[in-house]
Amino acid sequence: MFKKLLLVAIVLALAIPLAVPATAQDDKPTIGFLPGVLDPFYQVMEIGVNAAAADFGVEVFLPQYPSTWGPSAQTPILEAMVARGDLDYIILAPVDKEQMIAPLQAAVDAGIKIITVDTFLGDGDYINGPVTFPISYIGSDNVEGGRIAGYALAERLGGKGKVYVQNTNVGVSTTEQRGQGFIEAISEFPDMELIGMDYNLDDASTSAAQTSAVIQREPELAGIFGVNVFSALGAGNAVKNAGLGGAIEVIAFDATKEAIENLNLGVVSMVIAQKPYDMGYLAVEFAFADWRGVTSLPRRVTTGYAVITAENVNDPEVARFIYQVP
């Protein structure tokens, strides 16, 4: 009798863990979301993530936002997420395309599938590139974004004039790519000339000082591309205080509320908005589809841009791209 009971107990003990995945298969996936840093861009992405989670009835877990941009802040949070043991997918914006490979490989080894949003691993090509384990890379094409800024500026300037770039730091892939795309676009116009690019360390005061100096050096300067919020803010401030508001076009990247305020004040003349909401929503949708056995998901999705100007900023169709956190 005792032996029989023991046998039943053993069989049950073995069967329960076997049974769990079988029932989980019918269940919904558990998804983790890890942004790059606390800022409005990722906060809007989180809204997209939550919207998709509600639509698909899945649970999304966001432990915390990294306090600073860098692998040393993001990795511990990632490791804590892996250590939970209940996540099927992690949606994240890797803060470094090389340094985040190893920590994410460890997550993959623990049975978690990865989707990268906004930023990428390796060279972003998950089919032929050095890193192929993520399901997909959903994000803007920053070279394309720079090109859109370049074409938009060229159009406003009638395809001629001297232009200048305010960049943040050397070695940051996204802003470098925006600068590169901008330069590519400008070089297609024979009457346009790039007179330089300065680095402001993501500081508006420095950007303003540098731009003031360039305005003095180049009286014929017609347009400036600020690759992110602080770059454009400083450049726009310098232009406005030189009495050149309207005469020098300033194009800003990223549609934070601050950027839109500056658009309304005439400090910048155009804002290029990314679509973080789309990135977040699509990433959850992709995870869900993968869970349901969809195997033809694209490995790269570019989410595109919206161009916001003083003329269209009040149009709800455009205004919804402003990075607005309620």
Binding site: S67, A209, G234, G243, E258, L265
Partner: protein, 374 residues
Amino acid sequence: MTVDSRAEALPRRAVSRRVARQKQAILLVSRVWSWIFLAIMVVFFSIEGTGFFTVRNSQNILVAIVPVLLMGLGQTFVIIAAGIDLSVGWVMGLSSVVSALVIRDLADGGMAVGLAILIGFVAGVGSAALAGLLNGVIIAKLKVPPFIVTLGVSFIARGAAFLLSGGNVVGGQPQALRDLGNEALLYLQRGDETRLYFLKKPDVTGAQLRMLDRILPWPVVIAFVLVLIAMFILHRTQFGRHTYAIGGNKEATKRAGVPVDRLTILLYVMSAVTAGFAGVLYTARFSGGSSIAGDALMMSSIAAVIIGGVSMFGGEGRVSGTVLGALVIAVLQTGLIMMAVEPFWQYVIVGIIIILAVLMDQARDLIIGRAEAE
């Protein structure tokens, strides 16, 4: 050899007079070399750089030095007293965020804009003073090295600024604040008839607007007033004399009955307060509070203090030196851009000047020391 043998032949009093003269000459050179360097730079950039020697550029440079100068101003006192304050950058950010939040909320709540701005400024500078108080108390009372304490407080200030702002730029500021950050005491209208306007901005538009130079923008005026106050405190008051004394020999100062602990706390509060002013002026200039406002410029502010001849070993330095140091950095930055030089050279050159400044300092000590021993 001949000099030495002649010196031996001279009477004792003549030798000491010669030494005193020598000492004075060396002191003079060590004090003015950076002014001479600045003058050479200005002349060089005026010849080589397009648009450098203009009224407008002089004002651009003055505006550019404000955050570096203000963060360096209190720091000058701290370093003279043989301390260091590494928290000024993030304290500036904290002050920027706090002032922006207070001004926005009060103005939105219907308070008169002027009063809201005033209260916001007090709150911003007050939050900075609180961080300075924390620095000072731990350094003075718990005897923790300032390097460690201010590093720790820097992180706390950073965290507080991010928590308060939620990582966002705090926008939604009233127009009056933007005017305070960007308008000026005087306006110079160039063109057919050059005219100077006091306080009132002439009503011009379009191309005329480009011929309008803002002379002494408000942030520059405020920074200038703070510099004068700092000069008075350091060079004319007992507090100033005690600051030098603490840097020269802390123990002896304490034995002489000077309340060193209390003074130390005050010094760090002062350092935080000037950084706090940098923060509120950032908020005014860019009409938004940013937690990272001071991060990029913190090291430049310490560089300015060192280039200005303040000894890192304490006991020596002047406020005018820090003004000069900030000017050297801003002139260099502006000048190199006007010459269209690759921007990264700026760092290399600033680095060389810092080391030169310290070498100059040491050489002086060495020569004076030897002269005294003679």
